[in-house]
Amino acid sequence: MTHTGHCLCGQVRFTAEAEPVGARICWCRDCQYIASGSGTVNVLFPEEAVRYEGEVGTFRMTADNGNTVERGFCTGCGAQMYSRTVEPKGLPMRIRAGTLDDPELMAPTAIIWTESAPSWATLDPGLPHFPKGPQ
C-alpha cells in the first residue's frame, strides 16, 4: 500500500511504497530543536521506498550516537519532513509522523534518548524507554 504525506504549505509531498517497520519518539536534544521542544515522532520506512517531490532543504550533522544524519525540511514552511542516516548506510528513514496524511498510521512503540528529555516530559509508561539510542 502507498502511504502519502505533505508539509504544512503543501510544497513538499512524498510517497512511501512500503509498510512502516517501526515508530518511536526521540527526545535527543537535536530532535527537541526540530520538534518545538517535544520529542520527534517518527515512523520508520525502508529508505528506498520513499520519494519526495518539491524543494527540500537539508541539514547534515553528527547525531548524539555518532552517525552522520541528514534532516530534511520544507523550504517554504519549515515543516520537518524526515531524518535519514547518511553513514552508516542501511538504516530505516525516519519520516516525521506529523507529515503523514494519516499521522496515526503507526503509534510509537518505543521512546529513545529519554535521558535528555525535559523534566516536564510525559513519557508513556507502557512503552519501552531507552536512555540513549535503541539497542
Binding site: L8, Y33, I34, C74, G78, A97
Partner: protein, 143 residues
C-alpha cells in the same frame, strides 16, 4: 537584562529574551504537529519587544483554525522553527521551547487543541487543558 538565550540547530539564528514569558503552552493542533515532527509544539509567549533576534529568518503564514493568521519564522539553513505570532496578538511573540538554551527551567503549563491530539498522546494531567482554542490571554501591562 537577558533572561534567556536561544538559537536554532545550526546556530545561524540567535535569540535574546528579556523578561519572563507571559504564558507557556503546549499545542496539539494538526498544523503544529505537521511542522513539529508529529508531537505538540511547546511555546513560551513573551512580550514582542522583549525578544531580540539576530540572523536570517524565513517565514510562512497560514490561516489557523482559531480564525487568526499565524506567522511562523524558521531558520532557512536548518529549518528549525524559532518564533511565531498570531495576528490577534501582535504584542506577543511565541518562542519555541526547542530553541531556548538549557537549562531554562520553563515548562508548558497549559495544553491546547487536545481534541486533535493523537490517540497515543500522554498529556500531563496537572496541566490546564482546552479541547480547542483557549480564551485570549489577559492584556500585557506596559511597564
Amino acid at each position: 537584562m537577558t533572561a534567556y538565550t536561544g538559537r536554532c540547530a545550526c546556530g545561524q539564528v540567535t535569540l535574546a529574551m528579556a523578561g519572563e514569558p507571559v504564558l507557556t503552552r503546549q499545542c496539539w493542533c494538526r498544523q503544529c504537529r505537521q511542522v513539529a515532527g508529529g508531537g505538540p509544539a511547546n511555546n513560551a509567549a513573551l512580550r514582542t519587544e522583549d525578544v531580540a533576534i539576530a540572523g536570517q529568518l524565513a517565514s510562512h503564514a497560514y490561516l489557523a483554525a482559531s480564525g487568526n493568521t499565524l506567522t511562523q519564522w524558521f531558520c532557512p539553513s536548518c529549518g528549525v522553527h524559532l518564533t511565531a505570532q498570531s495576528s490577534a496578538r501582535p504584542h506577543l511573540l511565541t518562542v519555541r521551547f526547542g530553541a531556548i538554551d538549557e537549562p531554562h527551567g520553563l515548562k508548558p503549563d497549559t495544553a491546547i487543541w487536545t481534541d486533535e491530539a493523537p490517540e497515543w498522546a500522554v498529556i500531563d494531567a496537572e496541566m490546564a487543558q482546552f479541547p480547542q482554542q483557549p480564551p485570549a490571554p489577559p492584556p500585557v501591562s506596559a511597564d
